[in-house]
Symmetry: C2
Subunit: 201 residues, 2 copies
DNA sequence: CCTACCGATCGGTAGG
DNA sequence: CCTACCGATCGGTAGG
């Protein structure tokens, strides 16, 4: 049955992407050979090339589905029409949790995007820019004075720094998890943006 | 004269390290060939190997002098015997400025340390751990209630996230520089740590 | 300090 | 004629 075969094909693709993401995250894109990816999937290399055109397509698909999930998270929160503070808190907490689930893909996105073709890199960057813009908008809704200053973007990027850096020190097996960190990051950021000096005030 | 040759030797080593750091930061450790490093320095590859034993030594030296500078910054600030808030602010602001000057080395440290030998990696990690511990101590001096909780370390790492991530979005040629960001990061963090809930309070 | 190489391994593809 | 896959090997290049 064609249906069943297609779904096996898709499932195999997903398995390959998960193994490749794990290896790329641990050893880097260039530091991982297609032989290693194939071995991790218990496939021969030619079979691996049956599922993906080349090595770059692996990294591209990993990054693309990751940023698509992030953009979808933003849309979900926006659709809930929350009050400004609740919306920003929801964005922060859901991103922290999502990053906890997608640590490998996130590391590939941040470290290996430089090895992709110009066009692919730009497309991924555009999605990331729209996600950052949504956070900045939500921040301005909470503290409207930031609109007139140039601080909304930098403060948003400091927030992303806190979240993007967590994978380097938060061990999944540790007692402190992303679930516990999510409200802490939100509390810290809310306290912070209430305290920053706005020049011209 | 032996003296003169030695200083030329050292200057050439520094030049090679700077070029290597630039290339590793832009293309990754594995993605950069020793031929590229040699060409950037206008040296032949065998000449490059006259100054450094192998490729790993380049990355190791780049990382080692970077963490040594960070540890020295901590010692300098400690020696000034500032009041708790002023000490933490000084640590934050000087680290932001130092990272602005050492963006290449910092990127090599965070992305390529995984390619070093176990022993080298552990030695670098030990220095980094002592730097993080100094920040955590300074944070506890500002907010002593954190001592009893497990929050001092996570909050310190969120702070390092903000600082460590800045190189990805703060363009050196942009109007917004590390100099302007330094006090903003400090303000945001001080506001944040005053606001976080401590369980058990 | 150069040209000329090495053992090995890379990403990708041939025929069957 | 299709898919899914194999053993073997391609042309180039890596670090040394």
């Amino acid at each position: 049955m064609a249906r069943g075969r297609a779904s096996t094909f898709d499932a195999q693709r997903e398995e390959i992407l998960a193994q490749a993401a794990r290896l790329f995250a641990a050893q880097g894109f260039v530091g991982t050979s297609m032989n290693e990816v194939a071995e991790a999937c218990k496939l021969s290399k030619p079979t691996l090339y049956h599922y993906f055109r080349d090595k770059h397509e692996l990294a591209m698909q990993i990054c693309e589905s990751h940023v698509a999930r992030l953009a979808a998270l933003v849309d979900e929160v926006k659709a809930e029409q929350l009050a400004p503070r609740e919306q920003l808190r929801a964005l922060i907490e859901r991103f922290v949790r999502e990053y906890g689930l997608a640590q490998d893909a996130h590391r590939v996105l941040t470290e290996d995007v430089k090895f992709l073709a110009e066009a692919d890199r730009e497309r991924l960057l555009d999605v990331q820019r729209s996600v950052v813009a949504a956070f900045a908008d939500s921040l301005v809704a909470v503290r409207p004075e930031l609109n007139a200053s140039t601080l909304a973007k930098p403060l948003t990027m400091l927030l992303f720094g806190m979240i993007n850096w967590m994978h380097t020190w938060l061990r999944p097996e540790g007692e402190l998890g992303h679930e516990t960190m999510a409200p802490l990051v939100a509390d810290l950021f809310f306290g912070g943006i209430a305290a920053v000096q706005i020049s011209g005030d």
